[in-house]
């Protein structure tokens, strides 16, 4: 008797399970759909619109003259030296800030990881202040610090060669970019350090201990055990910050508004479309900026095998 009923029961169970699985799948899609559709709507729709608009000669000041011009806008931009200078500034800011932040962020992560109990909470609280502060506020804080009118850095730093009371930090590209990058680094190092901290926590403790037992120095343990084990976390942190740095806007807008060769691509897009109402040309800049960021992500994922899905996702 039992030999007969067993398969029957099993198939019955399977039917129940598959019905259950179906209703589970339906519920899953229903729950995920609103968020998913809104994300598509707020991002996919505008970018498709931007691609479309970028093919037209279209100024809001003369909407009747809207005319299909194909890829002419892209040609205009790519042959304009301003674009290449802005791309250079953007790349410079991205490379410098990410490199500095990676080192500073790693040191901060080490401090947070190893700190004694009484200081650990304090350090975490303090680094969250720059993380949470409004970027524009950070930009104003650094701007006023160095400003020739209301600042005090000229008198604080007067012992440095080249710094005196008449130095206007925001009247030439090099010094202005220095302060802009300082403000960016201050504001975003905490984020990178928290990403690295969680990577640090994943390095198996017995590995570093075993290395210590085997007589490895601190430096050897760092470079041979800890860093290789954190590679994935470092790559994700670099990619995220690089893409974030590439779209820098706020600090430059506040401090120089792009003057003296400090303009980044985001500002060019803003100035073209919102400032001059050249929707066609501005859309083309926006699309190029988007393609640059997509290219960075593509290179990171394909070339360096950064697994972004490791980021809390399906595991």
């Amino acid at each position: 008797m039992s030999t007969v009923s067993a398969p029957e029961r099993a198939s019955g169970r399977r039917r129940v399970r598959s019905a259950r699985a179906k209703s589970e799948a339906r519920l899953g899609m229903m729950l995920a759909a609103p968020a998913f559709l809104i994300m598509l709507f707020v991002v996919l729709y505008p970018i498709v619109q931007a691609v479309w608009d970028s093919l037209f000669s279209f100024r809001l000041t003369a909407p009747a003259d809207k005319e299909f011009v194909g890829l002419k806008n892209y040609g205009t931009i790519l042959t304009d030296p301003v674009f290449w200078s802005d791309l250079g500034v953007t790349l410079l800011i991205t490379v410098v800030t990410v490199a500095v932040e990676l080192v500073l962020g790693f040191l901060l992560a080490l401090v947070m990881h190893h700190a004694i109990k009484s200081t650990k909470g304090l350090v975490r609280t303090m680094i969250l202040v720059p993380y949470g502060i409004i970027t524009v506020v950070s930009a104003f804080a650094w701007f006023y610090m160095f400003s020739i009118d209301s600042g005090y850095m000229n008198s604080w730093l007067s012992w440095l060669p080249g710094v005196d009371a008449n130095l206007n930090w925001f009247a030439q590209g090099s010094t202005a970019l220095f302060v802009i990058m300082l403000s960016e680094i201050w504001k975003t190092t905490p984020f990178i350090s928290l990403l690295l901290l969680s990577g640090l926590a994943q390095v198996p403790g017995d590995l570093t201990e075993a290395a210590a037992v085997d007589g490895a120095t601190r430096w050897q343990r760092l470079t041979r055990v800890i860093l290789p084990n954190m590679k994935a976390a470092i790559m994700v942190a670099v990619l995220f910050r690089a893409m974030d740095a590439f779209r820098i806007f706020d600090a430059i807008f506040i401090m120089t508004n792009g003057a003296y060769g400090t303009e980044a691509l985001s500002l060019l897009a803003y100035r073209t479309s919102i400032g001059r109402l050249e929707i066609g040309l501005g859309s083309a800049v926006s699309v190029i900026l988007f393609l640059c960021v997509a290219l960075m992500a593509f290179i990171a994922v394909k070339g360096f095998k950064v697994d972004l899905a490791d980021r809390g996702g399906n595991q």
Partner: protein, 313 residues
């Protein structure tokens, strides 16, 4: 790894993990030195902490000091005001910049809170599905939200600017809330999905075995367990909405909807020839207060949320 895991070592393994990871890094210091040098090590940590504190808080203190300077004191070339004055706070709360600042503050609070609440509610449903249910397209949702979170905001601004003007959303609250969702939704989904994966599976299944529908299991079992994660996610999403500048200056033209960060860029002095430095500093301090309070009270949760949603697999 296999060379390290000698039988002797694996015997000690549970002990190591039980004592936590903080010990692992410091094991460098031999036990003897630990005993004699504890005081010195503690002092070292405090020195380090103070240095980090100066680096993290100095710019905030700097703008705080600026906000208490009188207009004539601004150019004193020093960090601290010669005499502390509240004239700038009077300017933004009762003086000429009152209208500009208080309206912007109301816009900022309203728009950020609504964008946060909508994002967190939708993300909670979505993240529950991702963490607990098996359905086709799960990976797609995660991939798309990741792509959205990395999207250059300025690329969306041009088309939105044009479309919003046509359909009447330009310079309205709704016209900012919708694009703000592109900032708050993706991070909320990732953070919450990571939180939800840590909630014990069995409770949800046990409830379903006891006859609860998946929806009931969600409401009665998961929601109370998930509340802390949801709350933390809300804080992080709020930070991001509160921080926005690009949408704020591009999609508004008047005080109707302009949030504080954008309004700061349009501040003018009490008179045409007076610099708005003091008023901007005071306004900057006011909008930093909620950030500092949230950080002070929820430091642990915010760190957990940021690191959970990040690299942790």
């Amino acid at each position: 790894m296999s060379t390290v895991a000698t039988p002797d070592k694996s015997g000690n393994a549970p002990d190591t993990s039980a004592h936590g990871r903080t010990e692992a890094g410091r094991s460098a210091a031999p036990p003897a030195r630990k005993k004699s040098g504890t005081g010195r090590i503690t002092l070292g940590w405090w020195v380090l902490t103070v240095l980090i504190g100066i680096w993290c808080l100095f710019p905030v203190f700097s703008i705080l000091a600026t906000s208490f300077k009188t207009p004539s004191d601004l150019s004193n070339g020093r960090l601290l005001p010669t005499s502390w004055s509240t004239v700038n706070y009077e300017e933004i709360f009762v003086g000429g910049s009152r209208e500009l600042f208080l309206t912007a503050l109301r816009n900022s609070v309203g728009i950020s809170v609504i964008a946060t609440v909508v994002a967190v509610v939708l993300a909670t449903l979505c993240a529950y599905a991702i963490a607990r249910l098996d359905f086709p397209g799960k990976r797609l949702v995660l991939t798309v939200s990741l792509m959205v979170s990395m999207f250059p905001v300025i690329s969306l601004v041009t088309p939105l600017f044009n479309v919003w003007r046509t359909i009447g959303l330009y310079d309205t609250w709704l016209g900012l809330i919708i694009p703000y969702l592109s900032l708050t939704l993706p991070i909320s989904i990732w953070t919450l999905a990571a939180f939800f994966k840590q909630i014990p599976w069995e409770l949800d299944q046990a409830a379903q075995v006891d006859g609860a529908t998946p929806l009931q299991a969600f409401r009665k079992v998961i929601v109370p367990l998930a509340a802390p994660g949801v709350f933390t996610t809300a804080i992080i999403a709020f930070f991001i909405a509160w921080n926005d500048f690009v949408y704020g200056i591009s999609l508004t033209s008047t005080e109707t909807a302009r949030p504080v960060p954008a309004a700061l860029a349009f501040f003018t002095g009490a008179s045409q020839f007076e610099s708005p430095t003091g008023a901007i500093s005071a306004a900057a301090i006011i909008v930093t207060i909620p950030i500092v309070l949230l950080v002070l009270f929820f430091q642990k949760q915010i760190v957990a949320g940021l690191t959970n949603g990040a690299v942790k697999g």
